[in-house]
Symmetry: C2
Subunit: 631 residues, 2 copies
């Protein structure tokens, strides 16, 4: 590798912000129809260019008069005026009110010429059809809403930079604005690179190492959230000419070009070459984790930012450095509730000397305090996108954060809510169905053993624990059920397997589950039992099974490997075998328990979980091998 690709001269985050702020992303204003204006930002001040209302409007039912003609009139000495016509709302007056005259008028109607006030009907009496007795005197303007009283022509109605919500749209409608000039949305071109990337919805050839393109759609959604317009460019691959073509086309058509995807050396080389030939590189490499390999520069007349390839890194860099610049260019204000304060639930050490954007999850305790825990599944994991709620920025000099330390979390979006229930533990189809019935929950499939460990440390609201348990953890039982487990084999059980004995004695390939899972704990216990019967030790039996040490983490995974013909048998549930149309050799049943953190049982989310658990019979009804347990 060349020096360049190692990003030896890392730029500070502050300098990276400066570099991006120096780029010009701001598009021209545009004109939109009022029906499409919601959420847009006014480009310029809007003054009223007409009066609202547009005419002197009667604000009472009564008679339109010349005020002077009523002067001195009262109950004792009424004035008598000739009735010369009538005016209704929504029609043009066809009458002129002269001295000594009046016209009948209804609320909302246009004042007839000549008249300058309205006498309310309660203070009048008609004398036949041609005259009216007026029992009060009025001043000019009485009971008349003059044209422009709501807003008058020439008045400032809305300022530049105003976000158009239904209210502003109401005022613009009243002003008769059929269309309106708004801030343009910066156009952001997204060029994904990498031979191995396939667009979602297309067929994937995993055997050739293909993976779905995560960054294009994730970043496009982020661009739209920030007030930009995303434009996806055809997948560029690693072919130098194709990629150069995509980058330069995007630069011509967009205010900002983002590339992301492959981190392969050849792709990086092409980007460097294109930027250096046709633009300017302002910085390469920022001292943050994740996201070190970030490029900022200009490409033709466009701005350019190169994002890292791993999705979590790409989205973190995008949110931290690029989204604020898009918002500024679009005139969109920073979101209001984008941060939350909380206490760190576990200590955290780090010492790479880079600013760290630490992805974290949130959980609330009974007192409503927010606890914050790091989510670190490695940059390559896409699930951490949804298992984290935001990011804590940790200074490059901070090597240690203590448990209980107050931290500020920048939420991934203003709509992020702390999950009502946070559970860790065994992946189980029945529990998945329970979660579907809860409004907002998060479950981390870490296996029974790890779930219990985290419950002991006080982090989750609940743990899902299956099978035998080695150590006790203080908890409150919320509910339990049984599930049948055994060996999953090809349809029709062609090898005629009857149990673990056949795996030990025969020449069969087995696929196991991780030791953190409750299913594996039950399988280990079964081998202990067999070892005792055979007068040997369990380790010897494990060694005798080809593949006992080859473990997968998810409970359906062994079954799917059997389905793919890669193994003769795998550990799993009867429910999985039936779902996938495979054969099943029953071994035993194990109990799954939902165990609550004793300090969280009064949380609303936990009460909701308990309520949902009371409907367990219905949840289990069509799950083969599952049955309720009263404990």
């Amino acid at each position: 590798m060349s020096d360049r690709k190692e990003f030896r001269d890392l730029t500070s985050p502050a300098k990276a912000h400066e570099a991006i702020a120096s780029l010009d992303l701001e598009p021209e204003p545009e004109t939109v129809a009022i029906a499409d204006a919601r959420g847009r930002i006014l480009a310029e001040r809007v003054d009223a260019d007409l009066d609202v209302p547009g005419f002197d409007r009667a604000s009472m039912d009564g008679y339109a008069v010349r005020a002077r003609g009523t002067f001195g009139a009262d109950e004792a000495d009424p004035a008598v005026l000739d009735l010369v016509g009538e005016v209704h709302a929504g029609s043009e007056p066809d009458v002129f009110v002269d001295e000594g005259e009046c016209a009948e008028i209804s609320t909302g109607a246009v004042m007839p010429d000549g008249a300058d006030a309205v006498v309310m009907v309660e203070k009048t009496d008609e004398l036949g059809t041609e005259a009216v007795e007026i029992r009060t005197s009025v001043a000019p303007g009485d009971h008349v809403m003059p044209a422009g009283a709501d807003i008058a022509a020439g008045q400032r109605a809305l300022g530049p930079g105003t976000e158009l919500t239904p209210r502003e749209i109401g005022l613009l409608s009243a002003l008769g604005k059929g269309e309106i000039e708004v801030r343009g949305k910066p156009t952001i071109g997204i060029v994904s690179t990498g031979d191995e990337l396939v667009r979602p919805g297309e067929d994937l050839n995993s055997d050739a190492g293909q993976i779905y393109d995560v960054n294009s759609y994730t970043i496009a959604a982020g661009v739209e959230e920030a007030g930009g317009e995303a434009k996806l460019y055809p997948h560029a691959g690693d072919d130098m000419d194709v990629m150069e073509e995509a980058l330069t086309t995007a630069a011509e058509e967009c205010d900002l070009v983002l590339s992301s995807g492959s981190t392969s050396a050849s792709a990086v080389d092409v980007v460097y070459q294109v930027i250096e030939e046709r633009g300017e590189l302002l910085l390469h490499g920022v001292s943050v984790k994740p996201g070190k390999p970030m490029l900022v520069g200009r490409l033709a007349d466009s701005a350019y930012v190169g994002l890292p390839g791993y999705p979590v890194s790409a989205l973190t860099i995008f949110r931290t450095f690029v989204a604020p610049a898009i918002r500024r260019a679009a005139g969109v204000p920073e979101p209001r509730t984008a941060t939350v304060e909380g206490k760190l639930a576990t200590e955290e050490r780090y010492s790479e000397g880079r600013t760290r954007m630490m992805p974290v999850g949130l959980v609330e305790n009974e007192a409503g305090e927010t606890l914050v825990y790091p989510v670190d599944k490695g940059s390559g994991a896409t699930t951490s996108l949804v298992e984290a709620d935001g990011v804590v920025e940790v200074d490059a000099d901070t090597e240690y954060l203590a448990e209980g330390e107050q931290v500020r979390v920048t939420l991934f979006s203003p709509s992020v809510r702390t999950p009502a229930v946070l559970a860790f533990g065994e992946d189980d189809p029945a529990f998945s169905r329970l979660l579907d019935r809860l409004k907002s929950s998060r479950f981390l499939s870490v296996g029974s053993r790890e779930g219990l460990r985290r419950l002991r440390d006080g982090l989750p609201d609940a743990a899902v624990v299956a099978g035998p348990v080695r150590r006790e953890v203080e908890s409150v039982g919320l509910g339990s059920w049984k599930r049948e487990w055994g060996l999953i084999v090809p349809e029709g059980n062609p090898a005629g397997i009857e149990g673990f004995g056949d795996l030990i004695d025969g020449d069969l390939r087995f696929v196991n589950l991780d030791t953190a899972t409750g299913l594996r704990a039950s399988a280990d216990a079964e081998l202990e039992r067999l070892a005792a019967a055979r007068d040997t030790d369990a380790a010897a039996l494990q060694n005798a099974i080809d593949g006992y040490g080859f473990t997968l983490k998810a409970h359906e995974s062994p079954a799917r490997r059997v389905l793919a013909g890669e193994f003769d048998a795998g550990l799993g549930l009867r429910a999985t075998a039936e779902k996938l149309g495979l054969g099943f050799v029953p071994v035993d049943s194990q109990t799954v328990r939902v165990r609550a953190n004793p300090e969280r049982v009064e949380k609303q989310g936990m009460k909701d979980l308990k309520a949902v658990l009371s409907g367990m019979e219905e949840v289990l009804a069509d799950l083969p091998g599952f049955e309720p347990v009263d404990e």
Copy 2:
């Protein structure tokens, strides 16, 4: 009027919520492309139906081996394996690794068949091109990220009801979902009624009492904000057949029909008749202010709600009763920051025995506390749409709210922000320009006198005061300028007017400004001066001017009436005369002062205002008759 139209049997707000909740607005789920999925709500749980990664992936550069072949190997006693090929990221392995063999492999590449572990390159040495020395032993699975380690086929990925933000779109992309089933958006038909309504953008005939249709676009924007799809039906007028046709078409095509607009008796009659013939009326009239005349019912297979005609009433009723039902039908969660607590800045009395939805504005004091003040310009005013920030719900039994009382404000939308500066006072073109340079401000054009009164009561951050001032109010001067005022006359001054004297002595029609304005105060002072010179009193001179008592509120309004040929002269500014191409007879100059609330000068918004005021010379440069003043 019939009994019915008086809404004698008013329903309680709680019962109105119940009636709307009993209607079914929920549409069928729909399928959208992943690129269009942002902001949508998942209709059903999404399970992974493939492993991510989709293949066993090398997580180090090195050699793919069978782990068994390395057992016992160490620095002292390395194993030697035959090198049989190489595998790169993004390509399909064309090699099988048998016992005693290995293959070169790069990070991210597919594990070749036969191999079950990777030895990192640092622990190896190539022996020529055909053999490799392995200086460590590895276990099966070492340095291999197994297929499904991120998320495995069969695992629950996202729950039903999840809002799709960029993060969820990232995970769905990783799972290869090109399209996704989401909750449908309820279709809301909006039928506006009323002969006098004209769509914004079309020509308005004010002489015939026409006004722009405010409700259709306002409510449509509110529908979209709540997660619905708005559909506008051609303007229905008051014609019975046309309106019946519009209502029944909307009912066939939509989940909910909203009608609003005319409150005329004939329109209400048609709605009643159509609902009763083709549907069911559940309630008419709710005990709330504003918004009493609200209808709830069914129309064919659709739900129906009739909104009041006045825009503020219509939007209040929509937000209070209809928007929550649309959100429920769309699966959209209630917005998080939709309320704010604050102290009432002024006492408030009310005793109509109805629940009151009191529109209020917000202002922050120096301590960051929120103060709340009622905004009541009457239901007919559209400007109160943008001058209020939210609504305080006041119980029907509460007749008095004390100053300082803590109230809860339901914001009009989660993006509502308390204005950085709240100013009251004289409408002035220079101050309007200053406001354009501030990020978020609110100015209420109430005239100099009323602005000073509110400043004395401690409500606004600042008051804009022009002309002579009768009483002193404790304040901090922020800046000032002069503006030239006089009589605005038709172009070329056809009547040869030279000053107020000509209005007093001649037969000319004059149009004045409201006594709350500083311009009027200066005009009154000028008449005092003339009266002294003529040895009479000012009242006599005022009476001698035809129209001195006919007043308008906005500073440009008299000029526009002169422009329309309705008057021979009007009170106004030189700047206005030049802007509108009118003649101008100068009388004098007056000083405009920006006076700060002494307890708010340290607010950030006020500091920003002060900074903007320092650039006054530039602001005034092209405003005729304006000049800076140092005081």
